[in-house]
Amino acid sequence: MTAFASHYTYWMTIVLMVSGLYIVIARGNLIKKLIGLAIFQTSVYLLYIAPGKLIGGTAPIVSEAFKVYSNPLPHVLILTAIVVGVATLALGLAIAVRVREAYGSVEEDEILAVDRSDEDRA
């Protein structure tokens, strides 16, 4: 029982990570793939921050009333990671918009079909 409770966060992280990965590899719509990538990234944030929590501790803001603090270092790294993630999402969506204007669709198989028909004609 204690093994279950102590590792539950890791298993939920794995579920979220593999769901995000599944959306990226198994779905054809470009925008849905980018959402899957965002879900994958948030599961990695959970993987870093969950082991830093100490039960009975508090947020890492030093004050007189508290003695035990949760680990501040993963917070710093994940803050950077969140902002980099939204930068990636913005660029990916800009490329998807340009693909839509050039090919007329954001579905992967329709885009490949247009490319293949161009190759057959060329």
């Binding site: 803001i61 800009a94 918009v97």
Partner: protein
């Protein structure tokens, strides 16, 4: 339309408080949760809120394109400026303790200025990306 009046009034009431909250988050990042990134996104959200209610051309008139593009570059310039100031005053790059006679006061100054740089860049980039997405196609081209 009557519902439009409701949106405009609520928008005019809320937007100053959103900007004030962004400044609060920025300057109280030393004593509570907060800092440059969160404050930059809240600032951009206030202007995006204005753009959603009053229309994109009005938002472009309030915060023009050249202001946003200058903000994008200015924040990085401030950050690098603090770094080079550390270099010029005798320490290494991005050393804060040389910025003032008392090293702890120097740290305060360094952290203050780089958080301002982060705020300006993040607000500018988020707002510019919104302008680019909302203003493209369907006849809403900016005048360039």
């Amino acid at each position: 339309m009557r519902t439009e009046v409701v949106l405009r009034v609520i928008g005019k009431l809320l937007i100053p408080f959103m900007l004030l909250f962004a400044l609060y988050v920025q300057f109280h990042g030393d004593f509570g949760p907060g800092g440059g990134f969160q404050a930059g996104v809240i600032t951009a959200a206030a202007v995006i809120f204005y753009g959603l209610i009053f229309g994109l051309p009005q938002a472009r008139r309030l915060v023009p394109d050249w202001v946003v593009e200058t903000m994008v570059a200015l924040g990085v310039a401030i950050y690098l400026g603090v770094g080079f100031a550390g270099l010029a005053l005798g320490g290494n790059f991005l050393d804060y303790f040389v910025l003032h006679a008392d090293p702890v006061e120097g740290q305060h100054r360094g952290i203050f200025w780089i958080e301002i740089g982060v705020l300006v860049t993040v607000a500018g980039v988020m707002l510019k990306i919104f302008y680019m997405f909302a203003g493209r196609g369907r006849g809403n081209e900016p005048d360039q």
